[in-house]
């Protein structure tokens, strides 16, 4: 198809067309490049509307600044006789800073600020501070009402740290449990069992989404066809049965080795888990609903009767997860979040009331009425959690 230069019979009409097309395409390239240039220059030049702050004689000039929420640029001019740093403070927390501004020099600082009242430093540590008032803007109001995915990055990272810490503790305690079972030490095994149970219950809201591992680690005999005789009766409760109902470590080595392998796999999977923001409140709500629907009424630790300690760990885990969302929630869904905090507090108080001097009483000592009261509080918590995602714009 290529038009070689030595072509014997030129085709003028098509050549002309070709020329036109080439010119047109070239024009497009130029136009495209110009558009690209303009677009790339669309980034606001940082110094065009910078706010000047001059520091001299131990004070900022001006000493009170007001800017709209969003991105601001500050030019800090050091007219003092010492090198200094300039900071924007929210309480004791540094929001932004520029260090080592030499005497007679200036530096710029860009900050993306949320509405609020902040302080600015003015030279030496004990110099009086100035104020920075950031007023709401249309964009900041919209962002506050429906936080962007980026706003969840910090909380999600912290959630991963929490899950890593808890799964580490789980694996460590399960190793100790396995050792105690192998050496036939019942008391040590019981202690290690409870140590392992706590972190597992703290992360239950996230761990139960791996159905295969959940069914291997935490099945309750009631839900298996042949109950305790069922080959699917593995994991924590199988070991619990041996240690507490049988008061022995006999015949538990296989179950213990399998539990260790399963919690180790859980740790690995947790690490690779790509959690979406909406999964936090959803997982928490699902777990609390399962407590309200059945677990509190029927109990889960039939042989050790340590259900209250499990519920307490569940609540601690849910409280931790929701606390991580607080910075996002306080502006976007303050009412719903306050309700969740209040309901969490109610459940916590109810559990603390049941707790005696030597920890929680055996669960078979908790009568139907007391279980009903706890269930009612748990239901309210589940309902409050269920409203969270819609309120914050995650549904």
């Amino acid at each position: 198809m290529s038009q070689s230069a030595g072509s014997a019979s030129p085709r003028p009409a098509s050549q002309r067309l070709m020329k036109l097309a080439i010119v047109g395409a070239a024009a497009l390239v130029v136009a495209g490049s110009v558009a690209f240039y303009i677009a790339s220059k669309g980034v606001k030049s940082p110094s065009s509307d910078a706010i000047m702050v001059t520091i001299k004689e131990g004070a900022c000039e001006p000493n009170a600044i007001t800017v709209p929420a969003g991105r601001s640029t500050f030019t800090i001019v050091n007219k003092s006789d010492r090198a200094l740093e300039w900071e924007i403070l929210d309480g004791v927390m540094v929001l932004e800073e520029r260090e080592n501004i030499a005497p007679g020099f200036s530096q710029t600082l860009q900050a993306k600020l949320k509405p609020g009242k902040y302080e600015i430093t003015c030279g030496l540590l004990n110099n009086p501070r100035g104020t920075l008032h950031v007023t709401p803007s249309a964009a900041s109001d919209a962002e506050a009402a429906r936080p962007a995915l980026l706003a969840y990055l910090g909380p999600l990272a912290e959630l991963q740290v929490f899950l890593a810490t808890q799964t580490n503790a789980l694996v460590k305690a399960t190793l100790a449990l396995d050792d105690a079972i192998k050496s036939g030490d019942v008391d040590k095994a019981k202690a290690a069992y409870q140590d392992a149970r706590q972190p597992y219950q703290q992360i239950a809201a996230m761990a139960d989404q791996f159905a295969d591992l959940h069914n291997a680690i935490d099945p309750v005999a009631d839900y298996l066809e042949k109950r305790e005789q069922d080959p699917g009766f593995t994991g924590f409760h199988r070991i619990e049965q041996g240690l507490y109902a049988g008061n022995s470590t006999e015949g538990l080595t296989l179950a213990s080795a399998k539990l260790l392998a399963d919690v180790t796999a859980l740790k690995e999977r947790m690490r690779g888990l790509r959690i979406q923001p909406e999964q936090i409140a959803k997982g928490a709500g699902r777990l609390i609903a399962s407590l309200a629907d059945t677990k509190i009424a029927t109990g889960i630790d039939h042989y050790a009767q340590t259900d209250l300690a499990d519920f307490d760990a569940n609540i601690a885990g849910v409280a931790r997860m929701m606390t991580l969302l607080k910075p996002v929630a306080v502006s976007a869904a303050p009412q719903v979040f306050a309700d969740i905090e209040a309901r969490l507090g109610d459940v916590d108080v109810a559990l603390k009331t049941l707790r005696g001097q030597d920890g929680f009483p055996a669960y078979d000592k908790i009568n139907a009425e007391a279980r009903k009261a706890l269930t009612a509080k748990m239901q309210l918590l589940a309902q409050a959690l269920g409203k969270f995602n819609a309120a914050i714009g995650l549904e």
């Binding site: 495209g32 303009i38 430093t121 980026l150 790509r274």
Partner: protein
């Protein structure tokens, strides 16, 4: 063929022009969750180490053991220097733990001059642990409080990623000049702490940009390597040579690499969509 190529090139130019920003936003915020979680664990481990090391250091100061305290000064500071982008977010603690005499109106004599450098001044400039016990107690209380606050802190992602450059700027501004540890001349220990902290951040986010920014990644890595090789020349059995042993040639090598690193790493936030 040529025509079609040209046409598609022009179309490409147009599309690229219409969405120049979208093309850069390859990294989703969710990709950053794991690196930031890993960094939090790194910071927590260093904060724990800082508490343990400071205990041994301040015990020596309070026991009046000047030689031992001097020997522990450089190594104790390293974990603080490594996590400085996070530690210095707490303005009150950063002031009482790590401020220099210049930050105070009456310099060394200012009652508010406390922390590492106040103790350094006593040990190295005055060769005495006399009167240092209150500063030792306060330093211990401050690092303990710092460790506690870090545990409860949700790390601001832009401070984590921005921290890689901040640490190198810090080196360029105060370590290359030898002004940070002016009484003890243990600046190279601090330098190594800052360096490790910066490289850690870079290594954690590196997989996210390795494919699209391979030239950048290679350049930054080789500058990190250059600094590491030069610093290694001054490694001793239990730490680093004093700052005055640094030759002019090596100072130049370090200054050049560190300045380039500071400049290059300052683009990291933008590359990861955190500006």
């Amino acid at each position: 063929m040529k025509l079609r190529l040209l046409l598609s090139a022009s179309l490409f130019a147009f599309t690229a022009a219409l969405a120049p920003r979208a093309a850069l936003a390859e990294v989703s915020p969710l990709d950053l969750v794991q690196p930031i979680a890993d960094y939090k664990i790194y910071v927590s481990e260093n904060a724990e180490k800082l508490v343990a090391d400071t205990k041994a250091f301040t015990d020596a100061v309070k026991a009046g053991d000047v030689d031992k305290a001097k020997a522990l000064f450089g190594s104790t500071r390293m974990s603080y220097e490594a996590i400085e982008p996070i530690a210095e977010l707490f303005s009150d603690l950063d002031g009482s733990i790590d401020s220099r005499a210049d930050d105070h109106e009456n310099s060394e004599k200012d009652p508010e001059f406390t922390g590492f450098h106040r103790i350094e001044y006593g040990l190295f400039a005055e060769n005495s642990a006399k009167d240092l016990a209150p500063f030792a107690d306060q330093l211990m209380a401050d690092v303990t409080e710092l460790n506690k606050r870090i545990k409860d802190l949700t790390l601001p992602p832009e401070k984590v990623v921005g921290g890689a450059a901040t640490l190198m700027e810090e080196v360029a501004a105060t370590k290359i000049s030898g002004e940070e540890d002016r009484y003890s001349h243990t600046d190279l220990w601090d330098f190594k702490g800052n360096f490790d902290g910066s490289r850690k951040i870079f290594d954690l986010v590196r997989p996210l940009i390795e494919k699209d920014e391979s030239a950048f990644v290679t350049k930054v890595s080789s500058n990190f390597d250059a600094v590491e090789t030069t610093l290694a020349k001054y490694k001793t059995a239990d730490g680093y040579e004093l700052y005055d042993k640094l030759t002019d040639d090596d100072r130049k090598v370090l200054a050049a690499a560190v300045n380039t690193l500071a400049e290059d790493l300052s683009t990291l936030r933008g590359k990861l969509g955190l500006n």
